[in-house]
């Protein structure tokens, strides 16, 4: 059975197609391991019984032309799944059962995959450590009481612990790449408009993107090809020719111009992060890439910009949770009192904090000073990337300014928590694709990731660069099954 668990997604698909393995065998292996891994708290809602039934159905009438034939997959609980509870990690949606399916998950089921369950995440995807979830902390399989990162923390933890062969998350400011980096896995934030936002619980609509979280780059190329599609139901979905990313995946570093932005060299950055970055640069160089020093002068303003834009959009997106049409309701003396109590009791502290920031920066008298200002700086940040991409094909940086931290270590200081996303946030503001791949360990043995940022819609290129680096780095997670 362990063999099944150790196979990558691409290998599982091959084995199923060759009839070396049945969907039932694979699904059973993952269900059994998930059952024994409750200590990690990765699942909010399990759907194991149904999964096993669906696996039987697949085996009885298999369709091997599908891209994910009979593969069980658990997904972040931010994707609406028809007839299966979708909570977004919040009390306010504790009992919400969607009557429709998100486009991204629909794409996955259409290719033959089977839903295992819904994975824990920060409440409304607001957090960098999975500690804001109403359903409790997630522990990282990398170490006891260690955060898996966030907001797609349950996804990252379940993936690294082998409770699902592959998974999907969402990334508004780093929520796929930071947890991937913390858990030694691969995570791709696609170009804005590449994956449909329909049926994903909205956080900040101009930044949100769904993306694959996988064991290696090959798996990432396969899953990205499945979830990316043009969708009429999302007004910002973009109609462009999607490629067969897996088929076109190749090691191609030779002659590539890779930019190294000096602003990402932080003053008090741990030495091991700098060392990791240098290692990545050396490998790229040895593989024939041309290393180019570049400048993204407004990098330092990305986080303050993000903490205006994202809360502003969130405060308006979350206005819908009023206790009337769906979700949690608290009793009140009158309608207004009911609204205020519902939202006070239904939302957690971080979500309330961000709604308050958003409401403030959009309120009369402050709109120009904050929101409009942030939109202008957002333009400058995007212009920085446009300039750099006249000279280079991709940009290489660390994914995070540190390795994973302990549960509780940063909860008292929101700003220090926000700083986690310093290398990932600019990419969301500019709408670009970026992938994080595991590239080394710190002195404690915790994984560290490198980020490759691409031009808009140039996912194939960054996948190829990531693939080249991966082959040289030969990363292995240092993990024992301590939680079992």
């Amino acid at each position: 059975m362990t063999d099944v668990l150790n196979l990558t997604l691409v290998e599982l698909v091959e084995k199923i197609k060759k009839k070396d393995l049945s969907s039932k065998e694979i699904t059973k292996a993952y269900v059994e391991r998930s059952e024994k891994s409750k200590k990690l708290n990765t699942y909010i809602t399990e759907d194991f019984k149904n999964a096993l039934k669906k696996a039987d159905n697949f085996d009885n009438s298999p369709d091997f032309d599908k891209k994910l034939p009979g593969i069980p997959i658990a997904v972040k609980d931010l994707f609406c799944t028809k007839n299966l509870r979708t909570t977004a990690g919040s009390k306010i949606l504790e009992n919400f059962v969607p009557t429709y399916e998100s486009t991204v998950t629909n794409n996955i089921w259409n290719e033959g995959a089977i839903l295992l369950g819904k994975l824990n995440c920060d409440e409304f995807a607001m957090g960098s450590s999975n500690e804001t979830s109403f359903f409790g902390n997630v522990q990282s399989p990398i170490g006891e009481k260690l955060v898996p990162g966030g907001s797609s923390g349950g996804s990252a933890s379940a993936l690294a612990a082998k409770l699902t062969p592959t998974t999907i998350g969402t990334d508004t400011g780093g929520s796929i790449r930071q947890p991937a980096s913390f858990t030694g896995t691969v995570g791709l934030k696609p170009t804005y408009g590449s994956c449909s936002r329909y049926g994903i619980v909205a956080f900040a609509s101009s930044l949100d993107q769904a993306g694959p979280m996988t064991r290696d780059v090959k798996d990432c190329a396969l899953l990205f090809g499945v979830i990316s599609s043009y969708d009429n139901k999302d007004s910002t979905s973009i109609n462009f020719k999607r490629k067969n990313y897996l088929k076109e995946l190749s090691k191609s570093m030779k002659g590539k111009k890779i930019g190294i932005p000096k602003e990402y060299r932080l003053k008090d950055m741990p030495k091991e992060i700098e060392k990791l970055w240098q290692k990545g640069i050396a490998i790229a160089k040895d593989s024939g890439a041309e290393i180019v020093d570049v400048s993204l002068p407004n990098t330092n303003y990305a986080l303050p910009t993000y903490y205006i834009v994202a809360p502003a959009e969130a405060s308006s997106n979350l206005a819908r949770y009023d206790g009337v049409k769906y979700g949690f309701r608290a009793n009140g003396k009158n309608l207004i009192d009911m609204y205020e109590k519902t939202r006070s009791e239904g939302f957690g502290n971080e979500v309330k904090r961000r709604i308050m920031i958003g409401t403030y920066v959009l309120s009369s008298g402050y709109y120009d000073a904050y929101y409009l200002k942030a939109q202008k700086v957002r333009r400058l940040i995007k212009n920085d990337f446009d300039e750099v991409y006249k000279k280079v094909d991709a940009i290489l940086t660390p994914s995070t300014p540190s390795s994973a931290f302990k549960i509780g270590e940063k909860t008292d200081d929101p700003v220090s928590m926000y700083l986690n996303d310093i290398f990932t946030v600019p990419i969301n503001l500019a709408g670009l694709p970026a992938i994080s791949i595991p590239a080394g360990h710190d002195e404690k043995g915790y994984p560290l990731g490198l980020q490759i940022i691409g031009k808009a819609f140039d996912e194939q290129n960054i996948l190829n660069i990531a693939y080249s680096l991966e082959q040289e780095i030969k990363f292995k997670n240092k993990m024992n099954d301590w939680w079992m």
Binding site: Y192, Y301, K341
Partner: protein, 95 residues
């Protein structure tokens, strides 16, 4: 700039989130440290910069006005917090 208790209460009213006195004090502290961090943007001159609202270069598309979902009352009411087969129920608004 500092956000005082009065401002916190005003924002919470606008956001329709009731907040207790003790928590309001803590929140004022958090918001101040976050806004200290945000104020960094004032270092930049942006008078001549065009604001950027969305990265997607598409203009909003037009679509034909056709009915796509019919007879879905049950679906729509399914998740309403107070049971009623025909309406959403709210506390009495008109005396």
């Amino acid at each position: 700039m500092t956000i005082d208790l009065k401002t916190v209460k005003h924002i919470s009213k606008l956001a329709r989130i009731s907040i207790e006195e003790e928590k309001a004090k803590k929140l004022a502290g958090d918001l101040n440290s976050i806004f200290d961090f945000i104020e960094k943007l004032n270092e930049l001159k942006t008078d001549k910069v065009e604001p950027l609202a969305s990265i997607a270069k598409t203009t909003l598309k037009l679509r034909s006005d056709e009915i796509k979902s019919q007879n879905i009352r049950e679906q729509i009411l399914k998740n309403s917090p107070e049971d009623n087969k025909d309406f959403f129920v709210v506390p009495k608004v008109v005396e």
